[in-house]
């Protein structure tokens, strides 16, 4: 199943409902919370890097396999591989810390799979979470 929105944060709640609705009853509460978190971090990322005015589009595709739930985020913004950036050093002291890269670090840690590819002029970020 698949749906497309304009890439603005106004649609975050809709996207969230779409994805979590598809996941309902398939994930434990903990894994559902992980998915919830990954969705916010990815959508915020896309809405902030990908587009000028007017906003472009985000297509969300949800695919279920026997043992996992996969969600693909496809946007037609500038090429951007969030996985290419260096991970933030989470051991640095308070004064040296900023938020850079924290969102994608969380996505990597709470999801079972995260893949990026550039395909046909679009960014495709795919996450997967194991069922149960």
């Amino acid at each position: 199943m698949e749906r497309t929105w304009s890439a603005t944060l106004d649609h975050m709640e809709d996207m969230r409902q779409f994805i979590l609705g598809a996941a309902e009853g398939k994930l434990s509460p903990r894994r559902e919370a992980h998915l919830d978190l990954a969705v916010e971090e990815i959508v915020v990322n896309i809405c902030s890097y990908a587009y000028e005015i007017p906003p472009g589009e985000i297509t969300v595709r949800v695919e279920e396999t026997e043992d996992s739930l996969g969600v693909e985020f496809i946007d037609n913004g500038v090429p951007f591989d969030p996985l290419a950036a260096e991970e933030p050093d989470v051991t640095r002291p308070l004064a040296d810390r900023d938020q850079g890269g924290l969102g994608i670090l969380l996505v990597r840690r709470v999801m079972d799979e995260v893949h990026y590819r550039r395909e046909g002029g679009r960014n495709c970020l795919r996450i997967a979470v194991k069922k149960g």
Binding site: M12, V44, V90, T91, L94, D98, Q99, G103, L106
Partner: protein
């Protein structure tokens, strides 16, 4: 998200309830910085009512912690559980900001 702030001799005990995310973090940040402007030097954040935190939420707590540090104040956290605790651990925020057992310990840390 609801913000319940209560004045104590050491500063403020603040109970947050709901989701600390992209949508709610800016309001929390604004309000929290106002407390510091008003002279508050110690904030104990009760996160037992928070069932969700994202990097935007973490960032708002980081902004408060840095602001307080710049005026020789401090922030202390308590009441985290489940995935919220996990997010603090992944991000290293639980080593950045003191985390204590409960409200009493939080007030003691501030005092």
């Amino acid at each position: 998200m609801d913000i319940h702030a209560e004045s104590v001799p050491q500063g403020r005990v603040v109970r947050l309830v709901g989701r600390l995310d992209t949508k709610t973090a800016p309001d929390f940040e604004k309000e929290a910085l106002m407390w510091v402007e008003e002279g508050c030097r110690g904030v104990a954040l009760d996160l037992s009512g928070i069932d969700y935190v994202s990097s935007a939420g973490l960032r708002s707590i980081l902004v408060l912690a840095k602001k307080l540090q710049s005026v020789e104040g401090r922030v202390v956290l308590f009441g985290m559980s489940g995935v919220v605790e996990e997010v603090f651990s992944i991000s290293g925020f639980d080593r950045l900001i003191p985390v204590v057992e409960d409200r009493d310990a939080a007030c003691k840390t501030l005092g």
